[in-house]
Amino acid sequence: MVLIFLILIPLVTGALSFALKGDSAKALALISTTITLALSAYISGQSYLQPLGHPMMFTHSWIPVLGTQLSFVGDGMSSMLCLLTGIVMMVVMISTINKDVERGGAFFGFMLLAQAGLMGVFLANDALVFYMFWELALIPVYFLCSQWGGEKRIPVTFKFFIYTFVGSLMMLAGLIYLSTQTQGMSSYAWEDIRRAGTALPLAKQQWLFWLIFIAFAIKMPIFPFHTWQPDTYEQSPTPVTIVLSALMVKMGLFAVLRWLLPVLPAGVAYWSDTVIVLAVIGIVYASCLAIVQTDMKRLIAYSSIAHMGLMAAVAFTHSSIGMHGVIVQMFNHGITITGMWLIVSMVENRWGTRDMTKLGGMASTAPKMAIAFVIISLGSIALPLTNGFVGEFMLFNGLFSGNEANALTLTVIAGLGIILGAVYTLNMIQKTAYGESVTMVIAKDLSINEYLALAVIITMVLFLGVYPKPLLDLTAGVAGMIAR
């Protein structure tokens, strides 16, 4: 029963928010995200305590003739991602407290609706419900980017929308096909879909794999489906960029783990080498592009493609430690990249540019901000004692010990990504935080709410770097189940 409130609270407050103006909408959004965060923390705690195989469930009949019902499940992975959604949304709301948003009612309304969609995707235990929320998460983001984004926002966002919509329609075809293959009456329940999918012959699983995977590949995004991403990140307003990169791309990876790997095992086994090679190409390609960027937002966008590429590659290796790493890293990456975007938006607000060639000397004008930036960046390049290290270590372990062809070569090439990652991230720190100040005027250091938002992120980065056990324990059961 609690699960449904995770979706209902943002949905209802989001709808209400459209009727409100500026500050009251902001207050409502803050209250709503606080409650949702508390609720998702409670659910995570519950699934941490509960024995494996008895996750929280919620089921209510919806359209019986179609074999679909409102069914949600809160296992370790779902509740972890809901917690991530709760934290990130909360941080976003805190960071926007002192900013004036044009037409605030609609802005916060769309943000909350997007949150509702995300929660639904992570919790859905029924394929049709999953599909509905998958789309529901996309539409508010489309409006957010198109209305509050940068100069070229309309064509860029339109491209993003069409791209992802094509993918999800293909997935719909795949899901409908799977539902007709279930035993007896057609059904969309996860368990029935899984049983129907695994029973299909290899030839069918081969084409069904791409039908379903294409939606996830576009969302993650995996090379060569990534072309929408840098432009969209660049043109979106920062709160939306955070939602996109910290949460929405996780939808793709999460969907692979929940709706692809267990459902079409033979198809996955057949295509996994291809996907891993594509993902590894993406890591190196995106890292190289990140090095030559001068715009901070584009740099982080490409770095995100590289990080997601590594997770996607390992997700297809069939190694249980790797799978565990993927799940944990989803959380870590979400936290770190939120921090990165916050810093970028603070830089842009203060100095009016994101161009690194014009920036420099942040450490002398805004020392607190520079320290936060360094810590979060170190988390992003996975230094030991930061959260990134734990996940990345498990990922490489998985990639190396997985049963794909040429595991060693691929691991080495993917490892290049880490080195390149250190190059571009440290380069960015050097150019912005240190060095000569070119145009950087004296600016204020962190304001209270910015301080608070970054404090949450940094605490998570350090805490999970030193003591990752709670996160690992929470997700161990699910990781083991998927890897099997």
Binding site: E135, L136, A173, T180
Partner: protein, 460 residues
């Protein structure tokens, strides 16, 4: 059967009212009241007919089952919605308001025949009763050359297709020695197939394909829909089309059921062509009205899916599709008729000036594009499911979904114009409170179909 008589009587009454009452507003109100009465008659009939045993009427000419009455009720409901939403604009088309409403009642009479016919003669009669009033409505804006052109074009092409339909019926009579579609089931099967029957089926596919504007018989549609005054286009593109589709479905899923191996692939190819032509051409339109004409061709491609799939989901899909598509398109026209400029630029900045108009248009466009939680999604979902169940047509499903993705492009262009572009759209007439309420109700129906489609199927 009572509804068939009622709608004819109401049509005649409306003609006299047009003669006797001068005030156009009063005429519209009377039409709305009569439409409500007609809806009541349909609901009464729905409640009094037993669900299992269909009634045969007029020497087995009509076969009235629960399903067809439910379809009639829904279509009457859509017409009711149409009259309430767009009735105010119908008044402005020309002088003879009473006659316009009379013609709409006669069209409904044709639709009732099309949903209950039991012999091919009644099919023919229904098609004619449905079409002839449309020719008049198309030309109702007499001072406008485009309207006259639309009328003439529609009439000539319509007459031609009627000829083909008659030819098909004749050939089928030759093969089956009966006009009765129930008798045909026993005669038309693959064991002893008369080539005349196959030829007849081909002719009927062409003729009915013309009525539902399936490619390559669609060429009249854009010009006719564009030339016809917008309030009447709204009706021709929705309820009328749904009626023709229902007749199509009824014929092919009863009389030609056992021959499905022979015609499924043909209609599948027609459906693919319709989707391709409709969607790709709609992309290049500059006028929203013309875009909606092409979009109606594209949507017809999806409705053809219900005919391809010979199973129970097809009938449900047809009902849901007919209602979802009709309601959303009527709503969209309800917004369109308020604007002076029908081009995309005419919509620029509508969200700032008339937020409610823009919001409801967004919901209707979402529905037409098939975004989840709107009726359009459920409709597309049902027909796709029906085809997947049919088997061996996965290529068509994937192709259709790719085309649906293209449709997002042109539907969302309207949304982009309304919300993200600057401009001050000029309105034909101020948006009244009644308009707003009706638009909101229409939005609610669209969403209701998307969330609880079973509400619209439980009566079958």
């Amino acid at each position: 059967m009572k509804a068939i008589i009622a709608t004819t009587v109401f049509g005649v009454i409306m003609m006299f009212i047009g003669l006797m009452v001068d005030n156009k507003k009063t005429v519209t109100s009377i039409a709305a009241v009569l439409m409500l009465a007609l809806l009541g008659v349909n609901i009464y009939e729905l409640c009094t007919t037993s669900a299992n045993s269909p009634a045969l009427m007029f020497n087995n000419m009509l076969r009235i089952d629960h399903f067809s009455i439910w379809f009639n009720t829904l279509m009457t409901g859509c017409t009711m919605l149409y009259v309430l939403l767009i009735g105010g604009e119908i008044r402005k088309v020309g002088a003879h308001v009473g006659e316009y409403f009379a013609l709409i009642f006669f069209i409904l009479c044709g639709i009732y025949l099309l949903s209950t016919y039991n012999t091919l003669l009644m099919l023919f009669l229904g098609i004619e009763i449905m079409s002839i009033p449309q020719y008049i409505l198309a030309g109702s804006d007499r001072k406008n050359l485009k309207s006259s052109e639309a009328s003439l074009k529609y009439f000539l092409m319509g007459a031609f297709s009627t000829g083909i339909l008659l030819m098909g019926i004749t050939l089928l009579y030759g093969a089956a020695r009966s006009f009765n579609i129930m008798d045909m089931v026993g005669v038309l099967h693959s064991d002893s197939l008369n080539p005349l029957a196959l030829a007849g089926i081909m002719f009927i596919i062409i003729a009915l394909g013309f009525k539902v504007s399936a490619a390559p018989m669609h060429t009249w549609t854009p010009d006719v829909y564009d030339g016809t005054p917008a309030p009447f286009t709204a009706y021709m593109a929705t309820v009328v089309k749904a009626g023709a589709f229902f007749a199509f479905l009824r014929l092919f899923h009863t009389a030609f059921n056992l021959l499905s191996d022979h015609w499924i692939l043909i209609i599948a190819v027609i459906a693919a062509a319709t989707l391709l032509v409709g969607n790709v051409t709609a992309v290049f339109q500059q006028s929203v009205k013309r875009m909606l004409a092409y979009s109606s061709i594209a949507q017809a491609g999806f409705m053809l899916f219900a005919i391809i799939a010979v199973n129970m989901f097809a009938w449900q899909g047809m009902i849901i599709y007919a209602v979802a598509y009709s309601v959303a398109t009527i709503g969209m026209f309800g917004v369109l008729v308020k604007l002076k400029d029908y081009t995309y630029d005419g919509f620029n900045g509508l969200a700032r000036k008339e937020p409610l108009l823009a919001f409801s248009a967004t919901i209707f466009l979402f529905s037409l594009a098939g975004i989840p939680l709107t009726g359009g999604f459920m409709a597309k979902y049902y027909v796709l499911l029906a085809v997947v169940q049919q088997g061996n047509l996965m290529w068509l499903v994937i192709f259709a979904l790719l085309m649906a993705a293209i449709s997002v492009y042109y539907y969302f262009r309207v949304i982009i114009a309304m919300y993200f572009k600057q401009g001050t759209p000029e309105l034909n007439s101020p948006v009244t409170m009644a308009n707003k309420v009706m638009l909101l109700i229409t939005c609610l129906i669209v969403i209701l179909i998307g969330i609880m489609p079973q509400l619209f199927l439980n009566w079958m």
